[in-house]
């Protein structure tokens, strides 16, 4: 008996070790790609395999990063864009969820609105940019509106679909207790759709970045989108690439935060 236990112990340890080995293997190659990418880029630029004026180089970007960080302008640009994106993203998600609630609450309204939702969803929202700028002025608000508009319709559609797909038997349970429509919504429809709402958050992170950056292309005097446009106009591609890398970094961080919230909120399912 004891021997058997020992044997299982050994097997278990071996299994755990193999899991760790696999993980290390994956991590190693991820790191390798990262290092190789930047090393190759640096080398390509250094030995003029590519035009350094166009593609810059990691070392030049790094130097610019340090410089911009020191004079404080980078922090300002980044925080402006981050603020706009977070706001656009939160507004888009909230508005979309509210619209989905309206559609659920008034089934006839949803039938009437259906073709218009399809059209709005199919239309490229960034094309609304000029109109938004004229309507709201070339400022913060039109950029935030871009970040919102780009995600609100898809959120509405996805969340509304999930509202409708809630198992009717949960509603039946509530109805047998005489629940009102509001109680059905609060006790079953909304909590059952929570995972969907959170996963639209993940999509909206990406969309809001698109909206905000395009918005900044069009109007702003500040922000990472502005840095890109400015760098492009004065042909300073180191600045463009620096902005790109920062956007990639911030978007990833935002995504990870949402993923973390998702894990916390829906651990019980």
């Amino acid at each position: 008996m004891k021997q058997q236990n020992n044997r299982i112990d050994v097997l278990h340890r071996r299994y755990v070790a193999s899991l760790r080995k696999e993980k290390r293997y994956v991590r190693f190659y991820q790191l390798l790609i990262f290092v190789a990418f930047f090393a190759l880029w640096e080398a390509a630029s250094h030995y003029r395999w590519v035009d350094p004026l166009l593609f810059s180089s990691p070392s030049a970007i790094w130097a610019l990063f340090i410089k911009k960080l020191a004079d404080g302008s980078l922090l300002v640009h980044s925080s402006v864009t981050l603020f706009e994106t977070v706001l656009g993203f939160v507004l888009g998600t909230l508005l979309g969820t509210c619209l989905a609630t309206l559609l659920w609450w008034f089934p006839r309204f949803s039938k009437i609105a259906d073709p218009y939702l399809v059209i709005l969803n199919a239309m490229p929202k960034v094309a609304l940019g000029p109109i938004l700028i004229v309507a709201l002025g070339p400022s913060f608000s039109s950029i935030i509106a871009m970040g919102t508009v780009i995600s609100v319709i898809i959120t509405t559609i996805v969340v509304y679909t999930s509202f409708r797909e809630v198992d009717p038997n949960y509603l039946k349970v509530l109805q047998t207790f005489g629940a009102s429509r509001f109680q059905c919504f609060k006790e079953a429809v909304l909590p059952a759709s929570f995972p969907t709402i959170i996963s639209t958050l993940k999509v909206n992170v990406g969309l809001s970045w698109v909206g905000v950056i395009v918005g900044e292309f069009l109007v702003s005097k500040q922000g990472l989108g502005y840095m890109i446009i400015y760098g492009f106009q004065v042909f300073q591609f180191t600045l463009v690439l620096l902005s790109l890398l920062i956007i990639a970094f911030l978007a990833t961080v935002m995504y990870q935060i949402v993923a973390f919230i998702e894990k916390k909120l829906i651990k019980n399912r």
Binding site: N169, Y170, L174, T176, F177, E187, P191, A192, R269
Partner: protein, 258 residues
């Protein structure tokens, strides 16, 4: 004196764009207080439709339902309903699930909460209050669902094949438990089932339905000897298999008659 629950000339037709399917055709029956009755029949006989009508979840095309002499039009607090599966809300703890009915009905008092928890204990689930449903087995969850239904203290329980999703052993145990609990609390119960054995073991009377359209064909009174016994003991009684054979033939003849 009028019966506890009276179903009077109920007919129900489901309409779609292309079809009009009559699920129930002129069904009348009455149930006395404290009785345990079963609706037995093949699938498509409208027994679940009738249950939903009694619960006022759907309005019948024709006919009326009366509870204690009063017509019921909308969801009635005296009627409790139990579904085929537990449908405990996975994002709520067992305790929150139990109090759900109280909360919805606006009768969420400390005393009723205490009752619900003591009922949970009685039914053998003490200590699970703060668990989430998925931490319990299927049988335990269905028991918790029973407590949720009983927590609002309904006078009549409508059971819509509540044991059909469970494995056989759990099912037998749960039949026993539900039967005992309902007897102890003097509840009237109405069980929908297609399981002949379950109908005999648990009920005082059995209503036999035919399908397409759903009609009440016959009513069987379960012999007194069996009624006295709990479901498990009833299944062992010689009369049980006799009645089983008899009902089997009846159901069979209904199907071949079509």
């Amino acid at each position: 004196m009028m019966s506890f629950l009276v179903v009077h000339r109920i007919s129900h037709t489901y309409f779609t764009e292309k079809t009009a399917i009559t699920a129930l055709d002129n069904v009348s029956l009455s149930i006395e207080k404290g009785e345990f009755v079963s609706f037995l029949g093949p699938s498509g006989c409208g027994k679940t439709t009738l249950l939903s009508i009694i619960a006022s979840l759907i309005q019948p095309t024709e006919g009326t339902v009366m509870l204690e002499g009063e017509k019921i039009h909308s969801i009635h607090p005296s009627v409790g309903y139990m579904l085929q599966q537990d449908y405990l809300f996975p994002w709520k703890t067992i305790q929150e699930n139990l109090f759900l009915g109280l909360k919805i009905m606006g009768i969420d008092t400390a005393e009723r909460r205490k009752n619900a928890l003591s009922l949970l204990e009685r039914i053998g689930l003490q200590g699970t209050e703060h668990y989430y449903p998925q931490q319990l087995s299927g049988g335990m969850r269905q028991r918790a669902a029973l407590v949720r239904t009983l927590a609002t203290d309904p006078k009549i329980l409508l059971l819509d094949e509540p044991f059909s999703a469970l494995d056989y052993q759990t099912k037998l145990k749960l039949e026993e438990l539900v039967w005992q609990t309902l007897k102890d609390y003097g509840k009237t119960a109405l069980l929908v089932t297609h399981d002949i054995g379950e109908a005999i073991a648990m009920s005082d009377r059995i209503f036999l339905f035919s399908a397409k359209p759903g009609r009440l064909v016959r009513t069987f009174l379960v012999p007194g000897e069996l009624r006295q016994l709990s479901p498990l003991d009833a299944r062992k009684h010689p009369l049980f298999s006799e009645l089983f054979q008899f009902l089997w033939k009846e159901l069979d003849s209904l199907e071949t008659a079509k």
